[in-house]
């Protein structure tokens, strides 16, 4: 029990340090806020025009769509999208990852903690301001039911875990390719599309939405945001959360295998 506590203590320290080291660059981070709002405005304009032209009813009303894209920007940096280049990959590339291996830590857990620290940082320094500014300027829906808020908190946490696990998995390919830009670029296009980041899955044609439902990536955006908007309710919430949990475990397992094989053929550059 004590060992477990001490182990947790170590990785918690990694989370905090990861957070702290990013705090040193918080001013540079402000520029990122502009980008968030740029994309938010683009989405809002496009959908406002789209909704104005549209006559039939849609599964999300304009107010919900705006809320959806505000949430996208609030949590954007927590997701394994373009902005999420991990420094661990560059560490694999330049060989400094080796130095982490000389320490008695589990590498995946270390990397995972680092990603979690990163997520906390971006939630606080990027997500929160984006959210606060957005509720002033846009009609952002706020959930009223405590159960919705709680379920959303759990779901978005799982989405963050899944994001970290996916990042580790994708970047583990750096052991094989060293240059992951091509591979990760392809992965991220797929992930971005099927998470519902570009177009909410609720608006997709049925056959495509069906495919999305069988893929893990809806767990990043579609599930938590649908819970937030009250589109998933009752028992379905727990099924959706269960689905997220399964995918988190899946990606952690996959990442673990890849890392293990990667390290056994690890080529450390230079030095």
């Amino acid at each position: 029990m004590r060992t477990l506590y001490l182990t947790f203590h170590v990785y918690l320290a990694f989370v905090t340090k990861s957070f702290q080291k990013r705090m040193q660059y918080r001013v540079a981070n402000l520029a990122g806020l502009t980008t968030n709002f740029f994309f938010l405005l683009v989405h809002i304009f496009v959908y406002t025009a789209f909704y104005a032209a549209r006559t039939g009813p849609l599964s999300l009303n304009l107010n919900e769509i705006i809320t959806y894209f505000v949430l996208c920007q609030v949590f954007f940096m927590l997701m394994p999208f373009w902005g999420a280049r991990s420094e661990v990959t560059s560490a694999i590339k330049d060989g400094s990852v080796a130095l982490q291996l000389t320490k008695p830590v589990d590498f995946q857990a270390y990397w995972f903690s680092d990603e979690c620290g990163r997520a906390c940082y971006y939630l606080l320094m990027r997500g929160l301001p984006t959210f606060l500014i957005s509720i002033i300027f846009f009609a952002v829906a706020i959930p009223t039911q405590p159960i919705t808020v709680m379920a959303f908190a759990v779901s978005i946490t799982l989405a963050t875990f899944m994001s970290a696990a996916i990042t580790i998995t994708v970047f583990s390919f750096a052991f094989w390719t060293l240059d992951t830009t091509g591979f990760s670029g392809l992965s991220y296009s797929i992930i971005t599309l099927f998470s519902g980041m570009l177009v909410p899955i609720a608006l997709w044609p049925e056959w495509l939405a069906h495919i999305a439902a069988w893929l893990p990536f809806g767990g990043l955006i579609d599930i938590p945001f649908s819970i937030y908007l009250g589109k998933i309710t009752g028992m379905d919430i727990w099924i959706a959360i269960g689905k997220q949990m399964i995918w988190v475990v899946f990606f952690l397992g996959l990442g673990r295998i890849l890392l293990k094989r990667g390290f056994s053929r690890l080529v450390i550059q230079g030095g």
């Binding site: 340090k17 320490k103 030095g271």
Partner: protein
């Protein structure tokens, strides 16, 4: 402490394709050529020894260290450190070793030194008393205080190296691996680090494996050296033995009290003379140092006298330059009596 048996490492160097499609194809490509970085190297190191692991650039030193620290998996052969197989029992091994790669820091780049240390305290589960004591001792020896709260990325090379070495020793490891710990440092910083290593080794019986291109490091720290060249081990033994092995000649410098006209001594050749200052070259096999000095004292009055050992830099250059020469010397050495020699392979 460390047992290495027929250790080999072959790198497959893959041809890397660039660009989007290329990097995707890299996942499947199997085109490569082989580089033999370490070739059947065997040696063992006892507790408390300081080993100089030497060789020219690309000899395979860092590769060996990486296998000893569990970062690289050997292609064949066996390694044990502290009874652990480093690449299989990486974490267990890691708890008992300290590693410094001079070329890059193992501290957290964006964190102040102190916080890196505290993180290490948690990672290695170092008891508070031991942690405090070590920080105090290392601060006294290495002067960490000036930059203890500075982020690692802002440290000078010398400061960073001191922080790195201290960090590698916080958890009282049994073995310390130092891969070029004095690279790029000034004379003062080098001296400080050498002294520190010496002291830690003496006081704590820490086994040290040191690679360096600085032969002063070797002279000051290592009694025993292992030379590798071209992935192969070519010498393993005492530094003194290497010296004796490779250079049969020595130089005796004498300051005479007055300028003598005939200063010739049997079995010694005058190689330099300026007024009363003379240098003789002699071979210890032909005449022992004691006999030579005796012969001089018998005939002349002297002010000062000194014997120059062959310069280790020269020695190692000889080894590096021509393996054949070394082989020949080794063959000769078997004839000549070398009582002090420990192991030669």
């Amino acid at each position: 402490m460390i047992e290495v048996n027929n250790l080999s490492k072959t790198f497959k160097v893959y041809h890397h394709r660039k660009g989007f499609f290329g990097s995707f194809m890299n996942l499947f490509s199997r085109k490569h050529r082989l580089v033999q970085a370490v070739d059947s190297v065997s040696f063992s190191v006892a507790r408390g020894e300081i080993i100089g692991y030497l060789g020219p650039n690309g000899a395979g030193k860092s590769t060996t260290i990486k296998m000893l620290t569990g970062i690289l998996v050997p292609t064949s052969g066996s390694v044990t450190v502290n009874g652990y197989i480093p690449h299989r029992q990486r974490k267990e091994n890691a708890k008992r070793i300290g590693v410094v790669f001079g070329q890059r820091s193992h501290l957290w780049f964006d964190l102040p030194v102190q916080e890196s240390f505290e993180l290490l305290q948690r990672i290695y589960r170092i008891p508070e008393a031991q942690y405090r004591h070590n920080v105090e001792v290392f601060d006294a020896l290495l002067g960490l205080g000036d930059f203890f709260r500075t982020p690692v990325r802002q440290l000078s090379l010398g400061q960073r190296m001191r922080a790195d070495i201290a960090a590698a020793l916080l958890h009282n490891p049994d073995v310390l691996f130092l891969d070029e710990p004095t690279i790029g440092l000034d004379v003062v910083a080098k001296a400080r680090i050498r002294e520190f290593i010496q002291q830690i080794n003496a006081e704590r019986q820490v086994t040290v494996v040191l690679t360096t291109h600085d032969l002063d490091d070797v002279e000051k720290l290592c009694k025993r050296v292992i030379l590798i060249d071209n992935a192969r081990l070519c010498f393993d033994g005492e530094l003194a033995a290497l010296r004796r092995l490779l250079s049969t000649e020595r130089i005796l410098s004498v300051d005479y009290a007055e300028t003598y006209s005939d200063i010739s001594i049997p079995n010694a050749q005058v190689i330099y003379q300026e007024e009363s200052r003379v240098q003789y070259r002699f071979s210890p096999e032909a005449i022992s140092t004691a006999d030579l000095i005796g012969a001089i004292l018998q005939r002349f009055k002297i002010v000062d006298i000194s014997v120059q050992e062959p310069d280790i830099e020269e020695l190692i250059k000889t080894v590096y330059e021509d393996n054949l020469t070394l082989a020949q010397k080794l063959a000769e050495a078997d004839v000549i009596d070398l009582t002090n020699r420990k192991r030669i392979s």
